[in-house]
Each structure stands twice: as C-alpha cells, then as structure tokens.
C-alpha cells in the first residue's frame, strides 16, 4: 500500500496501529502537493506548519494509547471555513489577507479526531459558481483533463482529493457545490441534511441552504468524516438537536429490498446519448444489486433553479453586507464613509458576487418582496412537500448529478447556462435533504483528452443519512467505477494559475 494514496479508513487504522506516523504522512502529502498542485491549482494556501504541529500531536496521542477515528488522515479545507491563525479568503479579494481568529466547529471536530490540516482550497468566490472559475485568486483545473473545470464551487477540495493531494476534504454545498464538482472529478461528495453539521465558522453564502459535507475517494470515508462532525453545536442555532446515528459501521453490501425512486421529470431523454447510456446502465446496476425501481413525481422540481436564484441571492445580499472595509479585509478609502463602502465593495467583489447581491437586494426591496422573496419561499415549501410525497414510495431517489461531464474553461460565459449546471442538485438543497454524488461511469466529450467521470446523485429523506450512505456504499462496491479508469499522469512542470 502506498500509504498517501490509501483511503482515510486505511490510514486511520495504520496510524492507530503505529504502522505509519501522521508526521510522515503529512510530509509526504506536502511533497505530493508540491509536485502536482502547480498543474491542478487546488490549494489557495498550504498550512504546512500547522499540519506538522497537528501531526505531532496525533502521533503523541496515539503513542499514549488513544485511538482516533481520523488518526493522521490528511485533510483539505475549503477556503470558506475558518481555521484559527490561517488566511481565510473565500477566494475573494475582499478577504485576500484576512486571518481568521477562530476555528469552525466542523473543522475543529475533525482536527480533534486526528485529521491533519494540509491547507485551504480554491473555490468560486464566496461559493457562488459551478466551475471554480469565479475564484478571484486562482485557477483550478480538473485533474482528469487540465483543460477542463473541476466544477464548483468546492472545486479546489474536489480536485485535491481527485489528484491525490488530500485524502479527504471538506466542501460546502448550497445548491450543489459539493455534488456537482464531485461528479466532475470522479470522487464521492456528500451533503448531509441541513442542520446536521454546524455552520459555525463557515462563511455564509445563503444561510438557509449552506451545509458542510465531506469529499472523499470512497463512500465509507465520507461516512467516517460525517460521523465525526455531525451533531448539535451550541454555537449554531440552526444545528439540529437530534441523536446522530453512526453510519460508517452500518454500511451495507447489497440493495435487496431497497426501493429507488426514478423521477419522471428528470427523464434521461433530455441528455446526450452517451451520457444517457451511462445513467441507464447505472439504474440497471441498482436493479442487479437487488433494488426495485419506482417511478416518482416531482412536479415542482422544474421551479428549483428559479426559486433558488431568489432565495440564495436574497440571503447573500444581507450576509455579505459585513464586508464593508470597516473592521477587517480590503479597504479602499473614499471621501467619506459611504464612498469608502462603495469603493471597497466595488474593488473587492467579483462580477458574479455583485450580480447576486444586486438580485437579492432587489428581491428584498419593499414593493418586490412579496412578489419575489415570499413567492420563492412558498415554492420552496411546495418542492419540499413533493419530495415528502415521493419518499412515501421509495427509500432514495436516484438521478444524474449533472447533465454533462466537466466542461472546458470559459465554456459557460452566460451566467444562466452556468446556473443550469445545478438543475439536478438544487431541488434537494431547497428541501434540506441529504444527498450525495457517487461515481457511476465515464463519457468522452468532444475535445476531451480521455474519458471524463460522471456521478450518480442519490438523495434520501431528512435525517436518513444512514440509509443513504449504506445504499451508496452498496452501489459503489457493486460497480467499482472509480477503479475502472485512472487520472492521467499530472505533469509536475505545468502551472494552471499563479497563487
């Protein structure tokens, strides 16, 4: 076993058994990042010293007899999560040099369980985007084809895991920001039920939708990370006070008796033929493994994107107000306080962030509030009700994670075509459901260097994480798509974008 390419489960076992040390792993992983990240561009900053410090602490704890669920597991952290003493940028110029004074709860729980913080990963600015191209600080490439995007907004975290530059990563998902890039990069990406994982220390985009989740090579690893970080946090009033069922120890190997809902409105005939064939095969695999396919209806799912693009911008217009140049972050002086606000925000935010702040400000304005924000909230309620109805007949819902594999840089210049990348992931976010993407095959789009991965999205009722991860694990073990293709060698000389 090449230990830095092992799974988190294997690494934790080996470190707990003192077969290898967390310090060795951290050093090897930083060397790997040094070789590959010039081409991939997954990281915005490496936290080598912090990693070494934590690695030493883990080795000492293990030597003292402790067994840690994530002992020595190298972790990449999306740069919208606070880690005390590290630069936390949200890939925005407005926070380019901001050092967080505290650590996010989810991150703190992983570090306490033995994970090693390698660094902070690139993302679409303030998590707004589906390709990682909206980062104001760096370009990130898809490790499968360096001419293509990794997806977004958690593009850096996903690329890091796919390129072997991290064993696990944390992403955040507001409308698909973990699942869509996980599909694009051929890894597992899991968004838990809204409220399951504390948002304290996650820099808010849209508070009622944001949720932290794991990105990993296997479903089992995602379950392991979820088990460590899920649960009530007194620092987050929206975190749910409800016992967390362990998932990593209850994964299943087959799908006997499982009812999988196939959504009428997500009919595969909308997709290109080769992609459609992959999903038809995926559904057939579910049946082969023992599941029954059940047709279900989500009549309001089509309104998901429109609903999302009112609620999320409305919340972001308020959440991002605090970036005003007064207390921290970028400050561009103007003639008076109002001019300073304007100059700071004009220089500090990128186009997509400004676009969403404008949309959200408009949607909340007096005279438009009822027509936009209130109606969007009503639509959100209807979408959630549709899911509840559908889950009366099935245990999970299966559908594509995205309609295409990863696309080339600059392919989606029209914002709306980019928004549609989250067509299959947004409805679940609006309903707060647990949802994940697991590799389900490959397609070779025109101009691609080779086959590009595709993801199957599985979604479950609220708080049904145990069932969802169990089913995803059985599908993964029964298909083994991740081992059917491998990432082309990553040239160590290439540079995708300067940090």
């Amino acid at each position: 076993m090449n230990s830095i390419d092992a799974t988190a489960t294997e690494i934790a076992r080996a470190v707990n058994a003192r077969e290898t040390s967390a310090v060795e792993l951290a050093d090897a992983m930083h060397a790997r990042i040094g070789e590959r990240d010039g081409a991939v561009g997954a990281y915005l900053s490496e936290t080598s010293e912090l990693a070494r410090e934590y690695a030493k602490r883990v080795d000492a704890r293990v030597a003292a007899g402790e067994r840690l669920p994530l002992a020595g597991v190298p972790l990449a952290i999306k740069d919208n999560m606070c880690v005390a003493g590290t630069v936390t940028t949200c890939a925005s110029k407005i926070l380019e040099h901001w050092i967080s004074p505290y650590t996010a709860t989810a991150v703190a729980r992983l570090l306490d369980a033995g994970a090693i913080p390698l660094g902070k990963t690139n993302m679409d600015e303030f998590a707004m985007g589906s390709s990682c191209e909206n980062s104001a600080l760096r370009k990130t490439a898809n490790p499968w084809d360096l001419g293509r995007v990794p997806g977004g907004s958690s593009g850096g975290s996903v690329a890091a895991v796919a390129a072997g530059e991290a064993t696990i990563a944390l992403g955040s998902d507001t409308g698909g920001s973990i699942r869509e890039p996980a599909a694009f990069c051929g890894v597992v990406g899991f968004k838990p039920t809204y409220g399951r994982v504390s948002r304290y220390g996650l820099i808010a985009f849209a508070s009622s939708l944001d949720q932290i989740g794991p990105i990993s090579k296997t479903v089992e690893d995602s379950a392991l990370v979820y088990d460590v970080m899920a649960g009530l946090d007194p620092m987050d009033a929206t975190s749910v006070d409800r016992p967390v069922e362990a998932t990593a120890t209850t994964l299943r190997e087959d799908l006997r008796g499982v009812r999988v809902g196939i959504v009428d409105e997500f009919a595969l005939d909308k997709l290109d033929a080769d992609i459609r064939a992959v999903y038809e095969a995926a559904y057939a695999d579910l049946v082969r493994l023992g599941a029954t396919l059940v047709p279900v209806k989500l009549p309001t799912a089509d309104y998901g994107v429109a609903t999302y693009y009112l609620i999320a911008p409305a919340e972001c217009s308020s959440n991002l107000a605090r970036f005003d140049g007064m207390r921290y972050g970028l400050r561009v002086e103007g003639a008076d306080v109002g001019a300073t606000y304007e100059a700071t925000r004009a220089a500090g935010f990128g186009d997509e962030v400004k676009r969403r702040i404008l949309i959200g400000t408009y949607a909340l304005s007096s005279g438009f509030y009822d027509a936009y924000y209130v109606r969007a909230q009503k639509a959100r309620t209807l979408i959630a009700a549709d899911f509840a109805k559908a889950f009366a007949d099935c245990d999970v819902i299966a559908c594509p994670s995205a309609s295409t594999p990863a696309f080339e840089f600059d392919a989606k210049s029209d914002p709306f075509s980019m928004y549609l990348m989250d067509y299959y992931t947004i409805p679940m976010s609006l309903a707060g459901l647990p949802s994940l993407s697991v590799p389900c095959g490959y397609a070779t789009p025109a101009g691609a260097a080779g086959p590009m991965p595709l993801g199957l999205e599985l979604s479950a009722p609220l708080f049904a994480e145990r069932a969802l991860l169990g089913i995803a694990h059985a599908y993964e073990r029964g298909t083994m798509h991740a081992s059917k293709q491998s990432i082309p060698a990553i040239p160590s000389s290439a540079t995708v974008g300067a940090r």
């Binding site: 849209a206 970036f323 400000t361």
Partner: protein, 513 residues
Amino acid sequence: MSVTLGATATMPGAKTAIDINGVAYEAVMGIECHVELKTETKMFCGCRNIFGAEPNTNVCPVCLGMPGALPVPNRRAIELLVMAGLAFSAEIPAFSKFDRKNYFYPDMPKDYQISQFDTPLTQGGVVPFWLPDGTQGTCRLTRIHLEEDTGKSTHASRDGRIAGSTHSLVDFNRAGVPLMECVGEPDIRSGAEAVAYLEALKRTFVALGVSDVKMEEGSLRCDVNLSLRPIGQAEYGTKAEIKNMNSFNSVARAIESEIARQADIIRSGGRVEQETRGWDEAAGETHAMRSKEKAHDYRYFPDPDLPPIEFAESDVTRLRGMLGVSPQVRLDRMIGVEKLSIVQAHNIVDKLGLADYYDAVVAAGAKPQAAVNLVLGDLSRLANETGTPVSTSALRPSRLVELIAAVDAGTINSKTQKTLVERFYTTDAAEIPLTKIIVDEGLGQVSDSGAIDSIVAEVLAANEKTAGEYRSGKVKVMGFLVGQVMKQSRGKANPALAEERLRAALGEPEGAA
C-alpha cells in the same frame, strides 16, 4: 388619554389646550423606548453585558460580525421581555421570529441589525400611571420587540457630531446587548403625562429586574413623536421625532419646547415639516437632524440563522407566575385605599425595598399614614446614615408596629419612639416584647398630672424670667418651657399634658383676647 379618578371625565387634553389664533389645539405624542435588558450575557453571544468597561474588551467573533460567526439567542432575554409585556397585560403570540433590518453603518458590525419586524414578542397592553395632580392616565402599548444594540460611535469633531469630524471611533462593547423596543400608541398629551408614562415603565422594569433603566448610562433611550391638532380633529398633524434626551426632566423640557415651536409655526401660517429633531440640553431647544423625505428601505426578511420562537401556554403561565406584585397595583392601593398622597406613594414604590417593608408594616396592623411617615422619614434617613437598607435593618416590621401602637396608646411619647427606632435599627432583641422593654427601662410616658405639676413648678422656678416674658404676651416661649419639662422628665413626659399644665400654672398672658 387622561381621566380624573373617580370623578367626571374631563375633555381629553383640555388641561393642556394650546390656543393658536383662537383655536384650541392639543399636542399628540407617541413614545418609543429602547431599553437595554439586564442579562448576564449579550443577546446572541456569551460576551458579558456590562456598562463602562474598557472599549472593545467585551467582544467576540459573533458580536464583531466576523465572517462565519453565528448568533444564538439568549433565552433569558426573551423571558425578561415577555415578563415586561405580561406586566402590562400584553398578548404573547404563540409564534414570533427574528428579522434582519438591513442598512450600512460603521457601528453595526454585520451591517444588519437582528430585530423583529412583523412578529414582535408581545402585542398590545396598557400602561396606567398617576399624575402629580391626582388624576390617572393610561397609554396603550403597540408592541414590545427584541433586538440587538449597536456599537457606540464617538466622532472626532469639536462638538462630537459627525459633521466636520475627521474620523470616528467605535466601541463594540455595546454591540449585541439585548435591547427591547417598547412602542407606545399616540395617547400622551403633555410633558407631565410623558414623564409619568416613562416612570411607570421604569418602575415596572426595575421591579421585575428587566433593566436598570438608567438614562444617563443609555440603558433607556426614548424618542418622542409629537404633533399638534385642533381639539376634536380625528387626523393627526405632521409629526416631528425628538431624540437625544438624557433624563426624564429633559424629556419634559424637550416636549414643552417642541410644542411651543410647532405652535409658533402654525400660528404664523407655516407648515410643520416631518423630520427628526435633536434635543439640545444646553440651549433648551430642539434642532433639525435629518428629514424623513428619503425613507430608508430596510429590506426586512426573516433571519435564516435563527429558528422561530414558539411559546406554549405553559411557558406564558410560568412567566406570569414570576411577576410578583405589580408596582402599579401597589400604587393604586396606596393612593386609592390607604389614602397616601401621590408623592408619598410614588416615593415608597420607587425606592427599591421600601414598598415591601411598608406593606409588611401595614399588613401587621399599623395605620398607613403612621407607617408611611416613619418609613419615608426616620427609616429612610437611617438607611442613608448607616448604609444599611431598611429591608435588612434589625428593625423588623412587627417591632415598628409595636412602636406605632405604643404611641397611639400613649404608653410612650414620639420622642421615645424616635430614640427606640434609632436604637432598634441597628440592634434589636426582637423576641422581647416592647411592653417589657418600656417597663424594664422605665421609658413609659408620664401622663400623671400630679407628677407633671411638680416638674412644672421646678421649671418655672428655675426660669422666672422666661415665665415673665410669657405672662407679658410673648407666648412663643411656651415651646422652650415645654422642652424644659421634657428635659426634666428625661423625655418621658406627655408633651401635650406638659403644655396644658404649664398654661394652667402661668395663667392668661397679657393681651390675649
């Protein structure tokens, strides 16, 4: 709304009618109060809620609005506010939520304030109050809602105003302190009513432990919306909002000044502008701050970081049970039943600890007037002198009742009573009955004519000159002679009897008709 207690209702506002070119106008006021709640910690974080700390020392990522920090509501603050509402018979809706009020200002760390827009914690209610002239008024409450305070800005300019300042300093210690906004209906008609209303709020908030209500520390801030209209007219006139008053007295002065200003404008044919005006304490007048033409769009929406607050009937019942005796109920009883004066009743109730003591003394059988005289007189003085509050002094209400009864019965005189009150205030063996102490120590009042006559004879013999002055018509020396009798009796003589016997012994003074 002002009605005379137990008498014919007077015309609303009649007593404050303002003559403008022969038409009787009245002033109409609605008052909004911001009251900082007395909690251990801030509204949405664990920072301490105290006044007067070094700037920016009670702060954390949450109240500084750091990226990623989240608010968690302070349950105690919610309960205090609900109790405040219940004390004024407000309704407690089963559902309430927090909203964001969005606007940019440097002392507001998140550039939005967590507040409540359309679902306040309490709705309605009424605040009754007594006016100095013995009439009673009420002011209806619109609502009380909960929000967070902002930081405190200090502008670096000559006069402390923002105009002309080179920079501003912000202290975020106050940011996130729980603040209740108490909105009153436009029921107030005069400065006196405004002050009585504010005092009634303060009295209740202090009694409940909801707030310190110190205007000088900013834990109570109030804005007065004031307009004039001809008496009998239903529509309101154009209002001005007055801010920056730092005492109840300045509220009254600001109102009188603003009424005069608006009356002058109307008198000379002008129109009152809708605007915000600041009270200038030194100049004794209001000045324009900003006009309200550009109404702000605060883009209120439900705060997605905070789940809605749901109140069960059992929660409300529990909080209602914690209210204790309302100060207003006490005032009504003292004034209406016990016939205390308006001033006496307010003095008793507004001095923390005195009302419970007074009630205990009256409940133990003392006459209210005798009780109030002692509590507001000797006991308040002793509390000041000794630093020991009346409520924790050695003098128990039951002993005070004995002392009052002993004077009433003529067993001791009031001078002895005063001596004993002073003595018992610091040390008292409460189990020994007063009657025994009087007998043992020979403190009983001398009311025996024979005994007093012999003292009178001694006093007159020793003060022949003064006795002569009395006989020649200088009757005011009687006080001195009575004093001498008291002295000679070591304070035990019945003073009324002493005077009577002196008069008899001296005979009629010259010139007495």
